[in-house]
């Protein structure tokens, strides 16, 4: 009962707070990504492939301050250019929140600079399907604290409708991170593909390590173009380049080029 009352109170507070914000926006995008990575856990190959990406974002705020909550999911197959392995699945899941505040408008160019911080929970999961019964999972599972800088500018099109162009640089500065052990397959209970059903929150938390920029970093560059069609509706095109580098006992580096198209609704 206590839990339900607390949840209701939180919901009411959040709802009231959201109502107090001036603008709300919901956007849905989907697209394709080309990705490449090298993972020392599996040897010295470079793995390449394509993913299908989906992104759902909810933003609220006004011209000086804005918040955004986004959920993105991607899945696809990675080709191992030169291997007898059957195939590799590549999955990404990311929930992130950021808060940005406008701090400067550059003179004549009218480029608005906003800076802020964000929090992201991410899972990059790669599963090698083997010939025999042993599959191998590799992953980055973490919670990252990010620093963000956004540069945006609004133009008017010939039909007098606005077009917003924004460029966001997102750096992960600090993470609570879990990556596979050096010798990972069967003994890797948590997140080993045979042991997925044994995964417990406690086990994951226990294995999380706080790592800083030197051991792990993620950089995302979002380029976003919004074509405002009506007061309430518009079309969105995005290009996101993201890179992850983890240098624990094993090295992992991955890069993705995502091309997304979608729409947004203001309310």
């Amino acid at each position: 009962m206590k839990f339900h009352l607390t949840a209701l109170a939180i919901l009411c507070c959040v709802g009231t707070w959201l109502q107090a914000q001036k603008q709300h926006q919901l956007s849905i995008s989907a697209g394709k990504a080309r990705s490449a990575f090298s993972d020392q856990l599996w040897g010295y190959q470079t793995y390449k492939g394509s993913n299908t990406n989906y992104e759902l974002t909810y933003g609220w705020g006004h011209s000086k301050r804005n918040n955004q909550l986004s959920i993105s999911f991607a899945q696809g197959n990675i080709a191992v250019p030169n291997s007898l392995r059957r195939r590799t699945l590549d999955l990404h899941f990311d929930i992130s929140y950021h808060h940005l505040r406008s701090i400067k408008t550059f003179g004549k160019s009218q480029i608005l600079w906003a800076t802020g911080a964000g929090l992201s929970t991410f899972l990059d999961l790669r599963i090698h399907e083997q010939f025999s019964s042993n599959n191998t999972a590799a992953y980055n599972l973490g919670l990252g604290l990010q620093w963000q800088n956004q540069f945006s500018r609004t133009f008017l099109r010939k039909n007098n409708r606005p077009i917003n162009i924004s460029f966001l640089i997102e750096n992960t500065l600090l993470s609570a991170l879990m990556v596979p052990n050096y010798a990972s397959t069967n003994p890797e209970k948590a997140l080993d593909i045979n042991g997925l059903n044994e995964l417990s929150l406690g086990g994951v938390v226990e294995r999380m390590k706080i790592v800083s920029f030197s051991k792990f970093w993620r950089v995302n560059l979002h380029t976003m173009i919004d074509f405002v069609e009506t007061e309430k509706f518009g079309l969105r095109v995005q290009y996101i380049w993201s890179m992850v580098h983890s240098r624990q006992r094993l090295k992992f580096t991955g890069a993705r080029h995502q091309f997304l198209g979608g729409c947004f609704f203001n309310f």
């Binding site: 007898l84 083997q130 640089i169 050096y182």
Partner: protein, 346 residues
């Protein structure tokens, strides 16, 4: 918008995009020399049983490196050399998969087989339909003793090599015990069982204990040096009621390998009512990982040590409590000496 702002933004983009090229190292060449170098390095940095095997891996490099040249070495030659080198590790969990097949160290070579399936099925199991060893447990009641032959600890899979359920023994094992409440005891025969998933042995042991019991340790490699190991982590097995308290005899031979070797270890060390008889098991105390070679071949390596409850290696095999050998003369007489010895214990 002044041009300099575009230049700033473009410079930032170019800086980050260039990281991609700098950090993602290109795939090494698939030429024989590079394959050999990568192969040697992967084994050197990842194999977890060098100390137990006493193999001079550097000497094997020195001997074989000069035999390989990009211009003159064909795949078949390279494969043979790599397989011979892996053979020196004498580890059944280590192998090389190539388009032409998979190498495998024969851990039974030079040891008595201690099992003749024809004799067993014809003379003791009434030549019943389970001769083909379909399914994981073959059962019989011989002289009022329940006999279970566990032919594999492999997982249930979808026929395409993908595990659906890692442990399948528990329900089957429990059902057979429940169907034979009035037998004098139990013989578990794991001769010829080459292993599978360790969850299956755990599920059986769970019927022989009455409290959470430390059963084994895992000691993983955690770095490239020979001495880079993480701490040995102990694992408990939880009991599954009702506890089986009658006498149990476990039959083993050299072909009892990997998860079966581990099964012999826990059954010998933990329950008081179990006696292991037959031959020494084959070993297989390293849990494997797969690595890609630059030419696409797949290297399977033991990378984590599986230790017994006292943190002792089980790679060398488990000695039975009572060593009983099945001789050629016994087989000619149609006699399974090991099974008969076990039956005589009840």
């Amino acid at each position: 918008m002044p041009i300099k702002h575009y230049i700033y933004l473009s410079s930032v983009c170019l800086f980050f995009l260039s990281c991609e090229k700098a950090f993602i190292t290109p795939t090494p060449s698939d030429e024989p020399e590079q394959v050999f170098e990568t192969f040697w390095q992967l084994v050197e940095e990842n194999y977890c049983l060098f100390e137990e095997k006493q193999v001079d891996w550097q000497a094997l490099y020195d001997t074989n490196r000069s035999k390989i040249t990009n211009s003159n070495t064909v795949d078949a030659q390279l494969e043979k050399i790599l397989e011979e080198m892996l053979g020196e590790l004498k580890d059944g969990h280590v192998n090389l998969r190539t388009p032409t097949g998979r190498s495998r160290f024969d851990y039974t070579e030079g040891f008595p087989s201690n099992l003749n399936r024809g004799t067993l099925y014809q003379n003791y199991l009434n030549n019943n339909s389970t001769l083909a060893e379909v399914g994981s447990i073959v059962k019989a009641v011989i002289d009022s003793v329940l006999y279970m032959r566990i032919t594999s600890f492999g997982s249930l899979n979808n026929g395409d090599g993908v595990d659906l359920n890692p442990t399948i023994i528990d329900a089957e094992f429990d059902a057979i015990l429940a169907d034979h409440p009035n037998t004098k005891g139990l013989i578990i025969d794991v001769r010829g069982n080459s292993g599978g998933n360790t969850g299956n042995p755990d599920a059986i042991l769970a019927r022989f204990i009455n409290q959470p019991t430390l059963a084994y340790h895992l000691r993983p490699k955690n770095g490239p040096k020979r001495t880079d190991f993480g701490p040995a982590e102990g694992f408990n097995i939880n009991p599954r009621a009702p506890q089986y308290l009658k006498k149990v005899v476990l039959l083993t031979n050299r072909a009892s390998y990997s998860a079966t070797n581990y099964f012999a270890s826990i059954m010998k060390n933990i329950p008081d009512n179990v006696t292991v008889i037959g031959g020494k098991t084959g070993g297989g105390g390293g849990l494997p990982t797969y690595k890609d070679l630059p030419n696409g071949w797949i290297l399977r390596l033991s990378t984590t040590q599986l230790l017994d409850l006292n943190q002792q290696q089980i790679e060398g095999g488990i000695e039975p409590d009572i060593n009983v050998e099945l001789t050629e003369e016994d087989i000619e007489k149609g006699k399974d000496t090991i099974l008969e010895f076990a039956l005589a214990m009840f």
